[in-house]
């Protein structure tokens, strides 16, 4: 990979490269801000192993900032738990903190190790009689950003209304690219996509926006306005305007506080929720989300889950590219695994679990 351009790497690969750069000089103090967000399971495990080795030698002080603490908890000598006001809820040895402050942390919406969401979405068998045609059909898609280097090699996929598909696979396998192809933001080199009867890459933008929503992996690249209020209201119809306040409230971005803030100055988790809100408020039939859950504490995660659940119950189709095993467990009824631009597994969740 020596000569690979770093900007060509997938989001997860870039994350790992940045980590390698920080680890290489063997610093005495290493601060990692959500290092496993966007990493595949293998990458996250490898990272934790590397951090474990550093901890073993006591060569460096590690400060690890994390929401998803399952992997990080066993590494910690000291846990510092911060509340919304920035004041510590508790600090001490991991076991002591759990014994003393588990309830207070739970109340503040902080994930505890080994904890699951309170309300996973109910799984439903697909209603076979509902519609004979898939909402979106991808046929023999091939796509590459550079000639001779296809990212998506030959993918055919049908997705029906009401389905909740988790797109999984290692970093760089082509999940994000497939997502953009499905909603017509990229045009395939070969093959074709049909969304609600049309090629989504050729329909007018207004039509596309009614049928499909796409949330980018990097929220900053999708922001179009200077304030949070303008951002979430960008291009909405009157009916959609009416949903803005309630939705923002539920996503812990109440407009009476956030209205005039700059989207770029929000925290990573807030940016993620704002980028989701901009798309969820439209209630599109096809919802493609790229890493929807990174940077979320338990409150943010459960809020998102509830909103998604309501929307999906109305018959929308969800395709989520994700490395978050918890999200896959809580939401997906079908898992599509991508490897190097091909579908290597496509099965309902019940079978996958068996």
């Amino acid at each position: 990979m020596e000569r690979e351009r770093s900007r060509r790497l997938s989001g997860g690969q870039q994350q790992r490269l940045a980590l390698a750069g920080a680890l290489a000089p063997r610093p005495g103090l290493l601060v990692l801000d959500e290092p496993t967000a966007n990493l595949d399971a293998e990458g996250a495990a490898a990272l934790m192993q590397a951090l474990g080795a550093i901890r073993g030698t006591r060569a460096a002080t590690l400060v690890l900032i994390e929401h998803q603490v399952d992997r990080a908890w066993p590494l910690a000598d000291v846990v510092l738990s911060l509340g919304h006001d920035g004041r510590p809820i508790d600090v001490g040895a991991p076991d002591d903190v759990l014994a003393r402050s588990a309830d207070a942390m739970r109340a503040a919406g902080i994930w505890l190790p080994g904890e699951t969401a309170r309300s996973p979405l109910a799984r439903r068998a697909r209603d076979e009689g509902a519609s004979p045609d898939p909402l979106v059909r991808a046929e023999a898609l091939r796509f590459g950003y550079d000639r001779g280097r296809p990212v998506v090699r030959d993918i055919s996929l049908d997705a029906w209304a009401g389905e909740r598909i988790a797109l999984v696979g290692p970093n760089g396998s082509g999940k994000s690219t497939l997502g953009r192809l499905l909603v017509g933001l990229l045009r395939p080199d070969h093959g074709r996509v049909t969304l609600a009867g049309d090629d989504p890459a050729r329909v007018p933008a207004a039509t596309l926006a009614r049928h499909a929503g796409y949330v980018f992996q990097e929220p900053e690249r999708q922001f179009l306005a200077q304030t949070v209020g303008d951002e979430v209201r960008f291009g909405l119809t009157d009916e959609e305007h009416g949903r803005v306040d309630g939705l923002m409230q539920r996503l812990a971005l109440p407009l009476d506080v956030f209205e005039g803030r700059s989207p770029y100055r929000l925290s990573g988790g807030e940016q993620r929720r704002l980028s989701l809100a901009c798309i969820l408020v439209r209630r599109p039939e096809l919802l493609v989300l790229d890493e929807p859950t990174f940077g979320q504490d338990r409150l943010g995660y459960e809020g998102l889950l509830a909103i998604l659940g309501e929307h999906l119950d109305e018959g929308a189709c969800l395709v989520a590219a994700t490395h978050d095993a918890r999200f896959v467990d809580d939401v997906a009824d079908r898992i599509v695994e991508i490897g190097e631009g091909w579908i290597v597994r496509d099965e309902p969740v019940a079978e996958a679990a068996a």
């Binding site: 000089p25 926006a209 796409y214 980018f216 922001f223 179009l224 798309i279």
Partner: protein, 254 residues
């Protein structure tokens, strides 16, 4: 796309010119440019352009198609510059000059023609030298070489490299912003807001880049290097050859 043009293929990097120290190549390019500026004679630019192209194609391993694709727009520009210099030269209105071409009201004096051709050849030659340099030089190696062999401050060289690496990012940011507009129902095409977005993303990126460089202690003292570069006989050979070609060209063009 800009992004494609910044890529240098492995074949070019592993060639004789690709393995030559970037600082040597940069020095040659600058020397040749100074040489070209010193003369109005048509022979030096033709000779130097020819030498650069021949070296690029043989010693540099640049595929002719790639070289042609990179040079075509600059050569067109050179032609346009040459023609406009020819047409709008003051000599055309001077009755004491010899008429070379008379087309209706348009008169081109011999001096104007010579000046136009001369400037066209020089611009084309500069383009050839620059293209061969760029197409055989990996930007990272150039920065390494500037720091290790030319003693340029690391903070400056790698800062410039980081800025250079951010250029393709612009095209990607722009693509993402346009996709973001489309998925939210805004018409495709150009919108002033896109530039605001690009600017914001560029500033945010520069900000993060500066923090990353600080986190890696740039500018704080002596550094170690991942790739250690050494002067080689190849550098000497290429340098001497290039200097000789320049000298011959200037002598012939006196």
């Amino acid at each position: 796309m800009i992004a494609e043009r910044l890529e240098v293929a492995d074949g070019q990097l592993d060639s004789v010119l690709g393995r030559t120290s970037p600082v040597v190549k940069l020095g040659i390019a600058v020397l040749w440019l100074i040489g070209l500026a010193l003369t109005l004679h048509p022979v030096p630019p033709v000779l130097l352009a020819g030498a650069a192209l021949a070296a690029g194609l043989t010693l540099g391993g640049i595929p002719p198609v790639v070289l042609g694709r990179n040079l075509a727009p600059v050569w067109l520009a050179a032609l346009a510059i040459g023609l406009s210099n020819m047409l709008f030269s003051a000599a055309n209105g001077d009755p004491t000059t010899a008429t070379l071409i008379q087309l209706g009201p348009i008169r081109i004096a011999q001096e104007a023609f010579v000046a136009g051709v001369s400037i066209m050849l020089r611009v084309a030659a500069i383009a050839c030298v620059g293209a061969v340099f760029a197409l055989t030089t990996d930007p990272t190696r150039l920065a390494d070489s500037l720091v290790q062999q030319a003693r340029v401050p690391a903070r400056f060289a790698y800062g410039a490299l980081a800025a250079y690496g951010a250029i393709p990012r612009f095209t990607e940011d722009l693509a993402a912003l346009r996709q973001a507009r489309r998925i939210r129902g805004a018409r495709a095409g150009w919108h002033p807001r896109l530039f605001v977005g690009l600017l914001v993303l560029a500033i945010r990126h520069a900000d993060r880049m500066a923090v990353s460089m600080d986190a890696r202690a740039f500018g704080s003292g002596p550094r170690t290097h991942y790739r250690t570069l050494h002067w080689s006989l190849l550098d000497l050979g290429v340098g001497v050859a290039a200097f000789s070609i320049l000298a011959i060209a200037l002598v012939l063009g006196r």
